[in-house]
Symmetry: C3
Subunit: 216 residues, 3 copies
């Protein structure tokens, strides 16, 4: 029973990487010309967030430790490219897959950070970096506005679920139970946002352009 969670979370990670490679390719495709560039962008979407996490944590980058992750990301990207027409009809399925990937990445990264001795706050930061880093990097590379400027609820569920996860761990709740709650929370809020097309509530909405250009 001691070993199980590790395997479980590694599997989580694998699912998240394939999911992000597929959605990454689909998001990048409208702005990309070449299949080689598209595969690169799928791989960046899939492993970019985790790479940033490992660099900031100062630990060995996960796909240098085990290159299988890159093969998985390449396979997911190729699958995404080959099945573009198919996925076109499954667009909402993809959004849910992406939400699941983000939830799994966040929980897995908090586990990795805390396992390396980082404090829970650092864990939350790493969960967020891993879950949104790859997508943000891909958007920058294809000149799309990043998710940080969209009124969509994307970062919010990840922050809430990550905070809940470290709080549950702090109160001594079993790690697997806490992880399951956090994943359900992140995936649930994000899914609700997708399903009901929820946006940032007005009281949390940033008021109209307060200043044009404060730092330049």
């Amino acid at each position: 029973m001691e070993e199980a969670p590790v395997d479980l979370f590694q599997n989580y990670n694998l699912v998240a990487i394939v999911a992000f490679a597929i959605t990454g390719v689909l998001a990048a495709a409208p702005r990309t010309q070449s299949v080689v560039a598209l595969i690169i962008l799928g791989v960046v979407s899939a492993v970019g967030g985790g790479t940033m996490r490992d660099i900031v944590l100062g630990t060995k980058v996960f796909w240098i430790a085990d290159f299988t992750y890159i093969w998985l990301a390449v396979a997911g990207s190729l699958a995404g490219f080959l099945a573009i027409e198919l996925f076109k009809r499954w667009k909402s399925l993809l959004l849910y897959l992406d939400a699941l990937g983000a939830a799994l990445f966040a929980v897995e990264s908090i586990n990795k950070s805390v396992g390396l001795g980082a404090n829970p706050g650092v864990g939350v930061m790493m969960g967020l970096i891993t879950a949104i880093g790859g997508g943000v990097l891909r958007d920058l590379l294809v000149d799309r506005p990043t998710l940080l400027v969209q009124r969509d609820l994307y970062a919010t569920p990840i922050v809430l679920g990550s905070l809940a996860y470290v709080a549950l761990l702090y109160f001594g709740i079993d790690r697997d139970v806490s992880a399951a709650i956090a994943i359900v929370l992140i995936f649930g809020i994000r899914s609700a946002a997708i399903h009901w097309n929820l946006v940032v509530p007005d009281w949390l909405h940033v008021p109209e352009s307060p200043v044009k250009d404060p730092s330049s």
Copy 2:
């Protein structure tokens, strides 16, 4: 007296982080929809440059060593958000605060780099990365042109002040005196640029589009 400069520079750093969080939020607000995204962008503005510096130097990222910096950045970002209407009227004050933050970050980073055994040239690079890195990252994330493409004097005072600082240290001038001169120099040139709306002088101005696209 041996300990004083360290404390002094740590305080400098704290002031710079709060200043950058506030100006970061104000700069990002016109393009951001959600408060969660806004706080993230404020934190990125405040700690992004120092994070890049520590990663390039290969040393432990400062906010992993001491998470207080993140709390400060979050507090500064929240203050910036809550007081948006107030800061609107204080726009020029903010610009000076930002200039002060950049000066403090540059000097503190040169101290950190040289303290880690890096040569003075590396120190100047780190001063520049720390002082402009967070703002550049924030601008990329909200799809604003970065300060490197504006005709505003922003990077120039930092480069000049950083070069002056390592030169003064090289000639054996006392570290506190050298730091004070460098801070006054960076803050002074930048403030003059803000006050008189100075831009790049014509003889340093890049001539009209020499080539359209040399590398593609």
Copy 3:
């Protein structure tokens, strides 16, 4: 004879850094206002890719180990700026210089990665990161579409040549011979693409916008 390849590859690296500084300045100039910003962008173009490689590999950043690289990049950037009018007429020469730089960077990075004990797949990733990283970073900073969204053959020759190089090494071919073949391959395909204005062939071309926005 044992030492020769090392010197040779270091010379390769120096040529590549100067080439990328010059083409970086030329690419950035139409969008930059200040000479200081232009030099910064030339330096980023020249050393950005190698910096990313070293950070991902977890090894000491090459220009911190030897600051001469930065002086070279600054000198190349200044030369590029001073000779803008001249280079205007030599635009196609610059493209070939850039192609040569990319080929040298890719081979040198694979050598460095494999020398540090990384597997050949990691070597290919590092070759790609080093060869395109600096240019991609520069394009992001000046708000130009990155090479990953252009129909130009840029990443493809690097990936092919890098794969060929690790395959030749795997089959026990002499390192200098393999390197020469890889450099000729990358430079040759890229040069052919420049000369005949080759773009991504249709069967490798990404079909029209399959989905608008799969992940947001």
